[in-house]
Amino acid sequence: MSERYDYEQEDVGIHTTPVVIEPGHTFGTVTDKISSIVLRKRTPVAWWIGLALSFMLANMMFGTVVYLVLTGIGIWGNNQPVGWAFDIINFVWWIGIGHAGTLISAILLLLRQTWRTSINRFAEAMTLFAVACAGLFPLLHTGRPWLAYWLFPYPNTMGIQPQFRSPLMWDVFAVSTYATVSALFWYTGLIPDLATLRDRARSRFGQIVYGMASLGWRGSARHWARYEVVYLLLAGISTPLVLSVHTIVSFDFAIGIIPGWHTPIFPPYFVAGAIYAGFAMVLTLVIPLRKFYGLEDFITERHLRNSAKVMLATGLLVAYGYMCEAFVAWYSANTYEQFMMMNRFVGPYAFFYWLLIFCNVVAPQVIWIRRVRHSNIWLFVVAMFVNLGMWLERFIIIPVSLHRDFLPSSWGMYRPTIFDFTMFFGTIGFFFFLMFLFLRFLPVISIFEMRTMVPEAQIKEEEA
């Protein structure tokens, strides 16, 4: 903890590859450093402040939900012709953020990108909490959330069943599967670390709680053999899952015939956008986190730079998507498609379209500059632009497409109400509230996977 590396200086040589774990660490120091965040007695004051602020914001959401349930969804701004607005924007935004977590934990594991190891736990938690926030929106948008179980096929006295040809039904299955599998993956990864906490907790209460949660894990080689296979298989099945989830989310729009929705570029473009938004959120969270908890040894500059590069690459894919939308609208020679695009360029919401282009296409290009890529503050600022940009993208796609479609007599303007905002910012508070609890009670970095990164983990063969 006393040693601080001068990264800038370390990185001047061309041949120095930035490390994923700083030298000098052993199994013991890795374990102690990460578990001490959870097990130390004194809770940092800043944590209490953060928890209190996020809890207040979360209460804004709870208040809005109570008012909404008592009144109806008329408290939101969406109404004919814009039937989908903040609720679906926020749903897609949150789900997209969650996808980077699965990408980091599953796809990068399969690609043997060892740098993922120190951020995967954190990113998976982000996935889980983001999906929790996302799920609230369609649930509440049903208007009667207490009847949401009607969405699932079950034998009932009404004799009715859901319509499986509807992409909205596919979405129910995709999102609920995604939430379940993410939770399983996350918990499976936590079991060995919970055992570490059980063995290291000094309070009786901690020993009992972590002991129960660790299910009696004892690190047996037989258990590890099965565990490793299952972990890899979960990564293998999560990879197509994460791609399918956002593909299906994009079907919610692409299957419809509204100009601006009915386009085959949507699935890949939504998936790229999701990963883009997710990496931006990873950077937003990780840059302050590693500073505050002194985790620079484990979450190194290399992690930040790699995340920035992934963000830049997916950002370019998204930019290609925007280009494609404009090109196809023009090339289709379809009046409605062309009007939809012109309406984005110069219509009443044009300001937001150009703001979106600035945030998502122009701003991230600064990552090409080495100085920017190596500056945490710059990366944080760029990530914030992307967070905003990806929200605006869904705003442009959803209400701006809906407000002027085929028939000018049914055009209208969309204006969000105060409750749209209290709900949205409330879920951000809820997300951070869960995040702060996670930081305090569970290991934020996968301890057992970090042990495999330590040099002594190399088996020295004597006979061979």
Partner: protein
Amino acid sequence: MAGKRKVRPAVYGLMAEFDNPSDAVAAARRVHEEGYRRVDAFSPYPVEELSEAIHAHTTKMPLIVLIGGILGGMGGFLLQFYIATIYYPINVGGKPLYSWPAFIPVTFECTVLGAALFAVFGMLALNGLPEPYHPVFNAPNFALASRDRFFVLVESADPKFDRERTAEFLRTLGPREVTDVEH
């Protein structure tokens, strides 16, 4: 009943403690070569060589996950087929009731769900977890098995087990310590 009770050996087994993975792997190999079969090893992170050394490396997990995926996928598809064509047929724009391409997304999701549930719960079941109490927790220093120590255990149930001779043999493998594991 009392007469039928099996006589339990005095100890559950003998535990050798190592402070690095290489020694533990070498020791586990020697233990297996010596003919011990009721053997286990413990490490703070997955050590592939250690599982191989005690011949516990191949598992049934891939098959279980495959079965889970197939059951999930078939279940999902048949559910949709049954609901859309038999139980609750709705004519949508004259399209066929059995419109299988529309059933693919949900079938896929159910496949993944089935595979994931079988993977995690299958792993826990085969590992016999949750199991809050296990004799190995009685071994001194075993709390470090989740930090930086490596252990090799020979159970007393092994036919070759002999408290003195096995302990003597384990001591030749260069452990920090060899200790009895109480029940």
